[in-house]
């Protein structure tokens, strides 16, 4: 048959969880990266701001330079004392002391030029290129000469030598000097600061995160087979809650894995018994049929065939119930969506399924139902009720009575919510009070019980009840001659609003 499941989903779930546990490995580097980023980004920003302010200061310096040139320009005009002998001769000049000082202070990087009204060179430094100004206001421009950038003021002025164009050039350009010095004075220290800070921060962060790293390694060492708790004392107090939750998860996974292991072992053991019986029967018949005297023929009595049938039915039922049990596992159902389930409909359809079995035993199987709804998993509740009815019919003597009930409850729940109930009552032998807690355990059967049960029906019902955050209660249904008898299994659930 092709309808077989692949890998055991439970194993896959454990592996998935184990994979999820290795998350702290990524977390460590992420934390480190984030810390570094958070510390270094503002630091770099500060460096940039500092560079910007330095630049602004340099800009102010340039403005101050223009200002100085503007002040010196009239003094240069005053330095022209008289015109030359001819129009082409340089005029008679005596540099005003501030101008002379200015030029001396910038030896080689400053100069002046005196030109006539048309821009022809008369005196001073001829290398200062001529720009004929159009107005009488001082004008500023930059020029380049021998790789030096000069700031030049040019003004057309009326002097003792008539109308002249005067120029004063300053090569000690603050902006340019700033560009040269900025790398060494501003950028380099800033970069070094950032770099040093990066190293220091990295070192500090790595050191501070070392306990986390150790924790990560401790988690990595764990495997689905070894999920022992991590010692919280060896971890920093900030991550202790994390360690506590990890340990909680480990315990949960351990419990589940242990439960699964026990369940698989139990299931295999339980399946073995009916299968061994079947096999023994069929082996014996095969041997008998193959015996020389038999002539490859074998006649079986109806009794033997019926026994074989009941053994196979038991094996089938066991397989079905094991499957139901593994699916009803409360922890698996936690994330499944719930639906509104009509309990009256459910009771009626389960009743229909068990009428044949009840009729065959002459059992009066009936309903006492009132409208009630719960929110839950319909197929699970059907399985639960089916198991209860199956048990009741199975263990009640021929001619007995089994009743399925549901409806709203008078009493409210602990939180004052409305409640509904679902129950199955029989007038069979009942379960002694001392045994009632144990019958919910898997594979447990009340000593002395005959029939074809496998001890799973009530365990499944209980598991399903727990998946619905409800509990099964077992009690005697009545008493005969002062002795408790019959069984009432009841499930109380909250009614959906």
């Amino acid at each position: 048959m092709r309808e077989t499941t692949g890998a055991d989903p439970a194993t896959a779930a454990v592996a998935e969880r184990a994979a999820a546990l290795s998350v702290p490995a990524a977390m460590k580097s992420g934390l480190q990266r984030r810390l570094l980023l958070l510390l270094l980004a503002p630091l770099s920003l500060f460096a940039l701001v500092s560079i910007y302010f330095d630049y602004e200061t340099a800009g102010n310096a340039a403005l101050q330079q223009d200002q100085q040139l503007r002040h010196l320009a009239p003094l240069l005009a005053d330095s022209v004392l008289a015109p030359g002998r001819t129009a082409d001769d340089s005029p008679v000049m005596l540099l005003a002391p501030p101008v002379e000082e200015f030029i001396k202070a910038r030896a080689g990087f400053a100069g002046y030029r005196v030109s006539d009204a048309d821009g022809r060179f008369l005196a001073g430094d001829a290398w200062i290129s001529m720009v004929v100004p159009t107005t009488r206001e001082p004008e500023f421009h930059s020029m380049e000469e021998n790789g030096v950038t000069y700031r030049v003021v040019v003004q057309r002025v009326r002097t003792a030598a008539g109308e002249l164009i005067l120029q004063l050039a300053d090569g000690s350009d603050a902006r340019q000097q700033w560009v040269r010095s900025v790398f060494f004075k501003v950028l380099l220290p800033n970069l070094m600061l950032v770099l040093a800070a990066a190293l220091a921060v990295n070192w500090a962060v790595t050191r501070a995160l070392r306990p986390l790293l150790a924790l990560k390694e401790a988690v990595e060492r764990r495997s689905p087979r070894d999920l022992s708790a991590i010692d919280p004392q060896s971890t920093p107090s900030e991550v202790r809650p994390l360690v506590a939750s990890l340990n909680g998860l480990f315990a949960l996974v351990n419990d589940q894995a242990e439960g699964q292991r026990r369940f698989v072992a139990d299931a295999a053991h339980q399946l073995r018994t009916p299968l061994a019986g079947l096999q023994a029967q069929v082996e014996a018949w095969a041997q008998a049929a193959m015996a020389p005297a038999a002539g490859r023929q074998l006649t079986l009595s109806a009794d033997k065939i019926m026994a074989l049938r009941s053994a196979t039915r038991r094996a089938s039922q066991l397989a079905n119930q094991l499957l139901a049990l593994s699916r009803a596992d409360a922890s698996h159902m936690a994330g499944q969506p719930v639906h509104r389930v009509d309990l009256k409909d459910l009771c009626e359809s389960v009743l229909a399924l068990h009428l044949d079995a009840a009729a065959a035993k002459g059992i009066d199987l009936g309903l006492e139902v009132r409208f009630a709804q719960v929110s839950g998993h319909e197929w699970l509740l059907r399985e639960l009720l089916g198991n209860l009815v199956d048990n009741a019919v199975k263990y009640t003597a021929p001619g007995g009575t089994v009743t399925i009930r549901c409806g709203p409850l008078e009493a409210q729940g602990a939180a004052g919510e409305a409640q509904v109930f679902l129950e199955v009552e029989d007038d069979g032998p009942g379960i002694p009070a001392a045994e009632r807690a144990r019958v919910l355990e898997r594979f447990y059967r009340v000593p002395g019980t005959g029939g074809e049960g496998n001890g799973l029906g009530l365990a499944i019902a209980d598991e399903i009840a727990r998946a619905h955050r409800a509990q099964l209660t077992l009690e005697a249904a009545g008493s005969r001659d002062g002795v408790a008898c019959g069984l009432r299994v009841r499930l109380v659930m909250r009614s959906p609003a």
Binding site: M1, R2, E3, T4, D303, M306, A307, R309, S310, T312, R313, S316, A319, N320, E348, L351, A352, L355, D356, A357, A359, A360, K361, D364, L365, G366, L367, E368, V369, W379, T403, G450, G451, E452
Partner: protein, 232 residues
């Protein structure tokens, strides 16, 4: 009644075939969906039993193809999974019923009978249960060739029970079915019709059992040999 069984597991198929043959059905067994389609080209069947887990083309796909070819015969799906989606999908694709493996032969027979009865009711006017036959067109009820005299309300109750057999019919629904006849009908009145029907059916091996708190159900007296309870 001719049935088509599509199942690739030899052991299961031979078991089902034997059981169905003993119950009086003619069974054609094929091991794959492809073979089933070939066979269905030329022959017609009263019902098909199809396993979901077939090689290459699965049973759900086969069912879909049969329906898209306009074949209306009842289809019963066999599945090893009882996951809800599988059931819903199967029924959506046109299957009429499903059974989860492993199952007991009597239950398969009962489901099959119910399916066949329903399809008969849709295609012909005669409903049957055990020895009882109800001819809706002529409003005649017969059992073992004998005509049974039924009053109009008795007829309605009988027909309703027969359509639902072997499932029980609820008293509420019966009341609803009868209101066409009588506005003022009471649950007690139904009991009168039921007890009259009991008297008329019991001689023919058909019991009308009361289901406490629910309604009524038609049963064959003594059941069938295969329905005997399992030995302890």
């Amino acid at each position: 009644m001719r049935l088509l069984l599509v199942e690739d597991d030899v052991m299961l198929a031979s078991g089902i075939k034997l059981g169905l043959s003993d119950a009086g059905y003619a069974v054609d067994w094929v091991g794959s969906a492809e073979r089933a389609e070939e066979v269905l080209q030329g022959e017609s069947f009263d019902a098909a039993i199809i396993d979901i887990g077939l090689p290459n083309i699965d049973g759900l796909e086969l069912t879909r193809r049969l329906r898209s070819r306009g074949l209306a015969m009842p289809v019963l799906i066999l599945t090893a999974r009882d996951a809800l989606e599988d059931r819903v999908q199967g029924l959506d694709l046109g299957a009429d019923d499903y059974m989860v493996k492993p199952f007991e032969l009597p239950e398969l027979l009962a489901r099959l009978r119910a399916l066949l009865r329903r399809s008969q009711a849709a295609t012909s006017a005669i409903l049957s249960f055990g020895a009882l036959e109800l001819d809706s067109a002529n409003r005649q009820a017969r059992a073992n060739g004998q005509l049974i005299d039924l009053g109009p309300r008795e007829w309605t109750v009988m027909e309703y029970l027969l359509i639902h057999a072997p499932k029980p019919a609820s008293k509420e629904k019966l009341l609803a079915a009868l209101t066409g006849w009588d506005k003022e009908i009471t649950p007690n009145a139904i009991e009168v019709y039921v007890s009259r029907l009991r008297g008329k059916l019991e001689p023919h091996g058909i019991a009308l059992r009361s289901i406490r708190g629910f309604g009524y159900r038609l049963e064959l007296v003594g059941g069938e040999s295969l329905d005997a309870p399992a030995l302890p």
